[in-house]
Symmetry: C2
Subunit: 164 residues, 2 copies
Amino acid sequence: MDDAILERFNSFVKRRALRRTTQRDAIVRIIFAKDEHFTAEELFDRIHRTDSQASRATVYRTISLLVESGLLREIDLGGEEKTYDPNFLDKPSHNHLVCIDCGKVVEFEDSHIDLLNDCITRRLGFRPMRQSIHIEAGCEKLRLNGICPNLLATRLSGKRIKKR
Amino acid sequence: MDDAILERFNSFVKRRALRRTTQRDAIVRIIFAKDEHFTAEELFDRIHRTDSQASRATVYRTISLLVESGLLREIDLGGEEKTYDPNFLDKPSHNHLVCIDCGKVVEFEDSHIDLLNDCITRRLGFRPMRQSIHIEAGCEKLRLNGICPNLLATRLSGKRIKKR
DNA sequence: CTGATTGCAAATGCTTTGCACGCCA
DNA sequence: TGGCGTGCAAAGCATTTGCAATCAG
């Protein structure tokens, strides 16, 4: 799967008469090695934790290319920085639930929602293109037990929670 | 309605031991005089087209206060700048459809969607708090007749279309 | 070879902040 | 009178861009 994406990106690059480079290959590989959302800065860090290198400018430029090619999608998680989601190839129509307690992001798909959105859009006189649902929710465990497992994990790992 | 909001804002200000000022009053009045979405910069312009005055800093600071008070909501229309929506008092659970052809934003409410979101959230083990749907759609008229009335109006008024 | 790509640093553009002065309570 | 609020300009930050050197095809 990993290499299949790289191949798709390279054929996109060729189609546009652009060039395949070491940096672009590395960036694409690193992005799709995990299914995690990321910001440009986080990606830049991830790259520099490997033996690959790429400047900040190249990271930003390659992200733009990936978005144009349809392999990557910009999503809104409410943070200040732009966030990207590499999972739209596997799940073309998924949505996001963000836990306001711990910042955890859960992806979900639902055909009923898709259908409803489609109907609503048509009824309003438009042509459905793309839809995204952003749910903010509280942690039920935190409310009932006073403890949120994700929150705990988040604190321990020192991972920062997206601000609102 | 206009003054009722101002009153609510002022009681919020009082509750927080803050102070009522000419600038804050003016900003609140101008925001809620229309039901249009706006960016900080657009609001700043609107203010300076009246006889009221307020610095950019004060505009930003007052917007923050309004969001904290719950009277105003930040929404995602896909643009670069933060966008604010003054209509959540009238329609607490509305969503947005953005036309990719002309940039027009249509607000809509749908109880089925709300219900579905609620169910999905609970099933995932979370406590529903807030949900927002963002639909990107194409103009049906443009596709069928080759002309989009909104696009035309947008061009004539010189109003800029939100970028993607 | 030729033009695309990279890396660097400078530039952008929105938003926030430090500070001195002024004004509300 | 004590601070909060304001305006200004400077600072912050994420992102973009100009440019010279480098590299892919």
